[in-house]
Symmetry: C2
Subunit: 304 residues, 2 copies
């Protein structure tokens, strides 16, 4: 039995091996995705928000809700903020909370190794694989608030932004553009002081957007409160299907193909122009050549 078949039979080790292959964009990974077909039926849900908002508890509660109706759930926990990551990743915490023994839940941590572009490509591919392997929904978790999170959430059909009262999160969230990409806003720890103020602030913030204002849901994830409402909103989007998600999926495909082609072209170019780059860099560093002139020289071959 080959790897694609083993994955389709639900072999978790095969899936883990497959994920490593596609994450790193190996030729075997490309072949594996081709063998499995392109999937594309799973609802891909990005869940993001600042640390401390209770994301992992909320995700754990959501998983339990899906499991209660026999959905199989794939989770990719991504930390785009740094290759120098220290603490435990979200995925580890979710695992600790509950679902390790459940064979219908698959959780994987993806860490940034170097360029953001490479990580985003790995996330796209890993989500494709989980999708093709029959997981639905596929969750894309991110840790933190930043440009990287926004990037990762582009791989999702639906983006859920989780905030908590009284943490000043909203300012950070707005700066990072998180509110701009939210399809659903969650106020977790809604029993804490400041929930009303946060909701009011969110209301006025989202009214500034060009797009339709996203619904705001209050949850207390530790007690499961609000989780059915959140799940209902997510199911609604998934059920609306093509109409609601088509534009998002087209945009995602466009961005993904563009980035992948750019990466391949750049790799090929520098493989043959590495020496020319070194020479030019030395001249620029020593102030003998302007950067613009150096770039023109590097591109000259191609223009001819």
């Amino acid at each position: 039995m080959n790897l694609a078949e083993s994955i389709q039979q639900g072999d978790r080790r095969a899936l883990a091996r497959g994920l490593t292959l596609v994450e790193n964009e190996t030729p075997e990974g490309v072949a594996l995705l081709a063998a499995l077909g392109s999937g594309g039926t799973a609802h891909r849900i990005g869940i993001t928000g600042p640390p401390g908002a209770g994301k992992s508890t909320l995700v754990s509660a959501l998983i339990a809700a899906w499991r209660a109706t026999n959905a199989t759930v794939g989770v990719l926990a991504v930390d785009p903020s740094s290759p120098f990551t220290g603490g435990a990743l979200l995925g580890d915490r979710i695992r600790m909370l509950a679902h390790t023994a459940d064979e219908h839940v698959f959780i994987r941590s993806l860490a940034s190794r170097g360029a953001l572009g490479g990580l985003a490509a790995g996330v796209y591919n890993a989500a494709d694989l989980l999708d093709a392997a029959g997981f639905d929904p596929v969750l894309l978790e991110t840790v933190g608030v930043g440009q990287g999170e926004v990037e990762i959430c582009r791989a999702a059909d639906t983006t859920v932004v989780v905030l908590a009262p009284g943490s000043g999160d909203i300012v950070q969230g707005m700066k990072a553009g998180l509110l701009e990409i939210a399809d659903i806003l969650v106020i977790n720890q809604a029993d804490r002081e400041g929930a009303d103020a946060l909701e009011a602030a969110l209301q006025s913030a989202v009214e500034l957007r060009d797009a339709v204002a996203p619904p705001i849901v209050r949850t207390i994830a530790t007690r499961g409160e609000g989780v059915p409402e959140l799940r209902a909103l997510l199911d609604e989007r998934a059920a609306a299907g093509a109409e609601v998600l088509a534009a998002r999926r087209l945009e995602r495909a466009r961005a993904r193909l563009r980035a992948a082609a750019d990466r391949h072209r750049a790799e090929a170019f520098w493989t043959s122009h590495g020496e020319a780059l070194e020479t030019a860099a030395v001249e620029v560093a020593e102030g003998r050549l302007s950067a613009a002139a150096a770039v023109s020289r590097l591109l000259e071959d191609e223009r001819r």
Copy 2:
């Protein structure tokens, strides 16, 4: 008198106009940089750290120290975290604090407009222009903590990371890789509780680095305390000159040329392959084509 000459004569309006040209990488901007020569003598100092660490007060105190010895100071205040920026930029705050009337201090805010790559290129060019116009040092300020800040600091000869006690900044700073890029660490607001604990934590954190541990300086910027010590460290690095900074400058030139060439090549490619991208994106979005196959097809023309 042409623009380059006006800038060399110290005409501030000409400088402002020139910065707009080079920031946006216009052909006129490229010509202007060529006319001015490549500069390359100014000490480029990146100053970064989380909001609330007192960066703008510290920068203001540093500017005063440099002005006292007749240095002319250029400041580029950069917010890479978001195109949706709301609050006042660092540059505005520095301006308010002091140096508006001083013709030997030039402060400019650069905001992110879209891609991070484009912003970084604008920062490189703007620093080149200030350098060529005779400003030394040139400060590159960033607001916040993230991959964008690390990116911007690559344009600096020397990176100063500013933290304050009792804010949990160190964890965020480590995650974002800020401690990895610090040449000098500043504990500002050093009279606050927690300064000793922060220093101890920084000490153990920097010992994990491969490179030489950076010096740690304590400042109380509001009273100017520690500022002469910080300035002395910066002057020391500038005086050491070529030996200390050569490797950094070469690395910077390499990254800069590579990014600029990639950007130009991608632009040219998508100008002629825009339609092919749309077609492929639709097929991928509808699940009729795998992303890998789509990318191969897009690159086929070129490979032949």
